[in-house]
């Protein structure tokens, strides 16, 4: 690289790099330090060794919270991927003008504030006074405990999450589908391939980079899920939907136990890093970048 190019690169990348260092890397390093301390943000931190990690791995509520997070990750990644792809295929099959309308409709909930819509949905889901159960009762269905049953509450989160965020996966798939060269489809049509064969041999293989991108992003986002349990269920009933991020928030900003919350955050960080590395390695076997 020429000297002047190096200088240009430094000028353009420097501010962004500095921002990352200040607001991401330093806080992450600080979080590692805090995990070994007792710190309530008012008093000075005190070194406590592995005490926070011992509490994390011996506390009776911890396994449940990890399991909840894992359940939500599996559920949401699968549902958003399948539903997003289905919507994208559906919209791509429409006339060009109509596609704009549906693109807007499906993406619209993504731009709404989660807190405000989640509170409205909480009333909609109310077991005895909510509107969904009212309509179900009109067709003879018993009231569903949407927010009060450890099983149903996952369905509630899934419905809300799909309504609110499916537009994101949809948009990625919609763009990904648009990037597949049309010549492949024309050749398949000439060869008399049916829609299923076209999807299996052209669309899916050529969409794998997008699928991988969407799955990886969904995995990271749903591992850090916070809004849905916080606003819809409060982590309940009991601890039924308490996730790691919600637990981190509660220990940090309710208990003011920043050392312990940092230890939980580090455990999440390690889990995410390990799973992401596994996914990156596995992806080499199924993601097709050659077209």
């Amino acid at each position: 690289m020429k000297q002047s190019n190096k200088k240009d690169a430094l000028i353009f990348l420097g501010p962004t790099f500095l921002t990352y260092v200040l607001f991401l890397y330093i806080p992450i390093l600080f979080c590692f330090y805090l995990a070994f301390t007792k710190y309530d943000i008012i008093s000075a931190s005190e070194f406590v060794g592995l005490k926070n990690f011992t509490r994390l791995f011996t506390y009776s509520r911890t396994p449940k919270i990890y399991a909840n997070t894992l359940k939500l990750v599996v559920m949401l990644v699968t549902m958003h991927t399948v539903f997003g792809l289905f919507l994208a295929l559906l919209v791509r099959s429409l006339a060009h003008g109509t596609q704009h309308v549906f693109r807007f409709l499906y993406y619209f909930p993504c731009i709404l504030t989660t807190a405000s819509v989640a509170i409205a949905w909480r009333y909609i889901f109310n077991k005895d006074l909510g509107i969904i159960n009212y309509f179900l009762s009109q067709v003879g269905v018993d009231a569903i405990p949407w927010l009060n049953d450890p099983f149903w509450v996952y369905g509630t989160i899934a419905i809300f999450s799909l309504w609110k965020f499916a537009g994101n996966a949809f948009l990625y798939f919609y763009i990904g589908l648009g990037n597949i060269p049309i010549t492949y489809y024309e050749a398949a049509r000439i060869d008399g391939a049916n829609p299923f064969t076209v999807f299996k041999h052209i669309t899916f293989p050529l969409l794998t980079p997008t699928i991988f991108f969407v799955v990886l992003n969904l995995f990271i986002a749903s591992s850090q899920i916070f809004d849905e349990p916080f606003f819809l269920t409060g982590g309940g009933p009991g601890d039924a939907t308490r996730t790691l991020n919600l637990y981190i928030y509660e220990t940090a900003y309710r208990e003011f136990n920043f050392g312990y919350s940092s230890a939980i955050a580090i455990s999440l960080f390690v889990l995410l890093a390990v799973f992401t590395l596994i996914q990156l390695n596995v992806s080499k076997k199924w993601v097709n970048y050659d077209y």
Binding site: I42, R122, K127, L129, G235, P237, D239, Y253
Partner: protein, 429 residues
């Protein structure tokens, strides 16, 4: 007990000081050394847009008297986490080096501030500059008692709230029920709840919405002769026989008698009342503006006497922060805000003024008809239990309650025992 007597003696002696001519001997407000010092104080408040507007009027009035003290009001949203979340935000402001001078807190957060040495005792300022305190005796002594720890006065009672029964009068009339007497008990309450439950125009209406927030849950516990914590607030007391009876009764109202909807986490009862989906619920004065706006025909009565009758209360005040650079001016503001003018201007609808004279003026002039009940209940009210670990205690209670009320087959006794274990762990930490 001894401590309580000592506190009362100190309060009364302070009152006596003000009443017996301390004011005459004091300097006038123009003579004090800080009278002309130009300062800007940060005041942290919580409230809605309407309350923010009222505050702007109050600021103007304050500046007419004290043009040298500017107020920079910062409004923190209460949010989903209630008072616990609000105090958390204040603590975060302090930790980030942006400490306010004066904060509005309810008693639930006062201990949090006190334990962290964030609240300044005002005794020395009161002694030195008593001219700034307006008729201390007028603040209801029982309410003011909650602003004092070990004889140190940390603020002046400004507003307060209690828990009473809110009753939809139209639904009561339709069910052919008379308005209950002040001493109504468990059986009559259950009879009312049953009579008020049923289908109307294809929609289910419930007799009662059971308490689902810490404040109202503890209000019920008090009337069952129980409490969330032991009297010295060092241990959980949820698994006492009285408490088990209280929670079993709440659970039965939902699942056995089917007169109450299942409370969902974070539910606000106000929309259910204004939509006429429930006939009775439990709150203080804060829902009154919403009821009035919705045209609800309602009135209030004491929480039924389940075993005893002990009205719960929480009081709000304006402590001065220890980190304030201008404690004298902050004291002036704190004191002024608890005055008659401030209470009359700001507290005529959503909260109860703490001054006896303002209560006597404001309450009878505003809905509901039985508003003077708020004033009467102050005489015998008992403060809500608020240890310094209040945000965590509140979390444990919320989680326990939510778990219990979500399960039709909940083992109430076992859940309360496990909640007590958790409370003990939190309080010992």
């Amino acid at each position: 007990m001894k401590k309580g007597v000592l506190i009362m003696v100190l309060i009364l002696s302070t009152c006596a000081l003000f009443a017996s001519g301390g004011k005459e001997e004091a300097q006038s407000t123009e003579d004090v050394p800080f009278a002309s010092r130009e300062v800007t104080l940060q005041l942290v408040m919580e409230g809605n847009a309407e309350q923010q507007e009222w505050m702007q009027d109050l600021k103007k009035d304050f500046n007419k008297e004290y043009p040298n003290i500017k107020i920079d009001d910062i409004w923190l949203p209460m949010g989903e986490g209630g008072w616990g979340a609000y105090f958390t935000k204040i603590k975060t402001m302090v930790a980030s080096g942006n400490s306010p001078d004066v904060v509005r807190v309810a008693v639930e957060g006062f201990q949090v501030l006190h334990e962290s040495n964030l609240a300044l005792p005002l005794n020395s300022y009161i002694e030195e500059y008593p001219q700034y305190v307006e008729n201390y005796e007028d603040i209801h002594p029982r309410l003011q008692e909650a602003c004092v720890i070990d004889g140190d006065i940390y603020g002046f009672g400004w507003d307060w709230n209690n828990i009473v029964t809110h009753i939809n009068l139209d639904m009561l009339e339709e069910a052919g029920l008379p308005f209950p007497d002040a001493d109504w008990g468990k059986d009559q309450f259950l009879q009312y709840a049953k009579a008020l439950t049923g289908m109307k125009d294809g929609q289910m209406t419930y007799g009662v919405y059971i308490p689902n927030i810490y404040f109202s849950i503890e209000a019920w516990l008090y009337n069952f002769g129980a409490a969330v914590l032991s009297d010295d607030m060092t241990k959980g007391a949820l698994s006492t026989p009285e408490s088990i009876e209280a929670f079993t009764f709440m659970h039965d109202l939902v699942y056995t008698h089917k007169v109450a909807p299942v409370p969902a986490p974070g539910d606000q009862f106000i929309p259910f009342m204004t939509n006429r989906q429930v006939a009775m619920t439990f709150g203080g004065r804060w829902p009154v503006p919403s009821y009035v706006d919705a045209g609800l025909n309602f009135d209030i009565q004491y929480v039924p006497t389940f075993r005893t009758n002990e009205v719960i209360f929480g009081v709000g005040m304006f402590p001065v922060m220890t980190s304030s650079k201008y404690p004298e001016e902050a004291y002036v503001l704190s004191s002024w805000l608890s005055g008659r003018h401030s209470q009359n201007t700001y507290l005529n609808s959503f909260s109860i003024p703490s001054r006896i004279s303002v209560m006597d003026e404001v309450l009878p002039a505003n809905p509901p008809e039985n508003s003077t009940l708020y004033r009467l209940s102050a005489d015998t009210a008992r403060v809500v239990q608020s240890p310094s670990k209040y945000p965590e205690v509140q979390q444990v209670v919320d989680r326990m309650f939510n778990r219990m009320m979500s399960d039709p087959n909940a083992d109430v006794k076992a859940i309360l025992a496990s909640a007590d274990d958790e409370l003990n762990e939190v309080l010992a930490r």
